[in-house]
Point group: C2
Chain length 399, copies 2
Amino acid sequence: MVAATQKATHEQTKNHNKRLILKTIYDQPETSRADIARMTGLTRPTVSSNVAELIEEGLVEEIGQGQSEGGKPPILLSVVDDSRHLIAIDLADSEFQGAVVDLRGRVIHRECLPVNDSDGEAALQVVYELGDRLITAATRPLVGIGIGAPGLIDAQEGIVRKAVNLDWQDLPLRDWLKTRYGLPVHIANDGHVAALGEYIFGQVRKTPNLVILKVGRGVIAGIVLNGRLHYGDGSGAGEIGHVKVVEEGVLCRCGHRGCLETVTNSRAIVERARRIAESDPDSTLHYLASRLEAINLERVLQAFLAGDKTLQPIITEVGCYLGMAVAHLVGVLNVQCVLICGNVARFGEPLLQPIRQEMRQRSLAMLANQTYVGLSNLGQDIVLQGAAALLLANELGLV
Amino acid sequence: MVAATQKATHEQTKNHNKRLILKTIYDQPETSRADIARMTGLTRPTVSSNVAELIEEGLVEEIGQGQSEGGKPPILLSVVDDSRHLIAIDLADSEFQGAVVDLRGRVIHRECLPVNDSDGEAALQVVYELGDRLITAATRPLVGIGIGAPGLIDAQEGIVRKAVNLDWQDLPLRDWLKTRYGLPVHIANDGHVAALGEYIFGQVRKTPNLVILKVGRGVIAGIVLNGRLHYGDGSGAGEIGHVKVVEEGVLCRCGHRGCLETVTNSRAIVERARRIAESDPDSTLHYLASRLEAINLERVLQAFLAGDKTLQPIITEVGCYLGMAVAHLVGVLNVQCVLICGNVARFGEPLLQPIRQEMRQRSLAMLANQTYVGLSNLGQDIVLQGAAALLLANELGLV
């Protein structure tokens, strides 16, 4: 809106043009100055002077000659993928993950620190420790730090409004990290950045309308509309994990009963699996349960993938509930691409089938039939990739 | 996206500047050339020559002198509200409504034609008859024809993909009307244009994120995000009327059972009221029912507003179901302004109360507490106003 009602100043224009040129080079495997001029509508001298600056800064390089179209063969340009490093951090799970990645989101170095039951100040210290290690591991100039965090995150102000699991409230994490590291920092909800990661690095790259349903400890949807992340007025878009789906259901950590999260998150699956393991001798987890060994999501998943039939009803039921949620997403947004990610997505096709079936039975056929429901191929790195995408978008204009 | 990757040509720039200037004048009660230059960042000569053209075209007029800020007092400019007429058409209900309106959406002339059970070709003839009458009634140069229609409407292509009640399928209504009248025509779903109407002419004007829930014969949400109507990939955004809310519910015209529409639309209310009227002698409609007189929504509404307590449970139940839907809207979109419109909205506060209550019990408290649920003040004209807004947006760039 601002763009439409304000004429750009010279400095803004220059910056805009340079970003536009960098983005054009980034989006093509290889391109020439003439291509850029054609694609952007900018003049050749403007393209040339900006490309010279980008080469000078090491972000772009000349990679050889292209096909001649009559005259002198053009010199091809490409972004130098490892000319910068980005720090990407995922605070959504019981271990904090971090990575140094290059401009294409390729992981150069990883760090992982257990949070266990740390919260408040202690959890913050784990973030600092993670940040310190990653900064040390980076070997290129840093673009900044991108973070995906659970809960209500005000991305604009860089404040964690409320993260129940970490017992953080109104925590100005962005500014504290900025001060500590002297780098640009961007932070957003883990589901939100996951959607951005999918939009930039995923198999459905640049699909303008896209929903990522992240199902792990929490259940959250990340929504990209017209190529832009939809945060919501209170930073809470996609908080479908706390919409009631079971009347008189179990108590949720949000204070309500029967939220979607209570019947679909990793904890719900583990608890149901534990009950089955205890009571059903056919369960491959029965022996573990009787030995009081810990049954966790990883073990449930391994048992399920190995063919333990006693677990199928759990996954079917989780899929049905998720399918109800997807039906509402279809009804509200009519977005034709819905991808599931997060720990629970690892149950794969047996989880997708009931999701698809419920979606079709519970929403307008013409819309449901056009809606693809699948798995994200970014796997467990989706939030890291998304955190990197958040940085690329905000610092380099590459989204 | 196109705008960001293409440099504007001279002609586009000129057009863009003129629209920007018109919009600036339209958005202020009064403004001067200097104000416009300041607000748009355009040069004074550019502003002056474009304003001269707009005055020449009769769209803008000089309305006197403003306060001097030292030098010569500025000449104030204003849009001439009745310099153009717009034809607005609402095909969503059992009577087709049409109006000639001015540039502020004020109704100059109305027409209304019963559709009864006409469909297919017969219903199309009613549209033509309505169009003919409105064109005749207009007394100013016409901007064009804007239409809100029920069902899946491809606004980009101007095609009615599917309107069950009218038995229209893949009907190129825009092009047929363009050919018949030689005027620009724009068409979109009635719920979608209602949201646009609210955005331009409603009490929450220019609230960038906004949901209009239209409850009448159909139940549809119109969604404005970042000041733009969200149509959805298949033109079906907001089709929440066909999301299942009752397991094993009654058959819906969409082919599924238990859709939101089946328990909240005007027909559902009338049918329940009829059953109560027949069986409960306390019902003020009992006498009518025993006389086999038609019980319709209007009579139910009048009885309810006159204090008939037997109808309260119906309205409470309808409100509860709508509240469930609003909880999902809050969860998905986190839009803080949800307005109810359509025939059923006329039940007023007694309908709003259960909606608000269910929304709060069924979605994250922090988000629900920030969400305003109220009635649109555009009343029964909201689709007409929206159809006019659709034209203003597309033909004059005033949105």
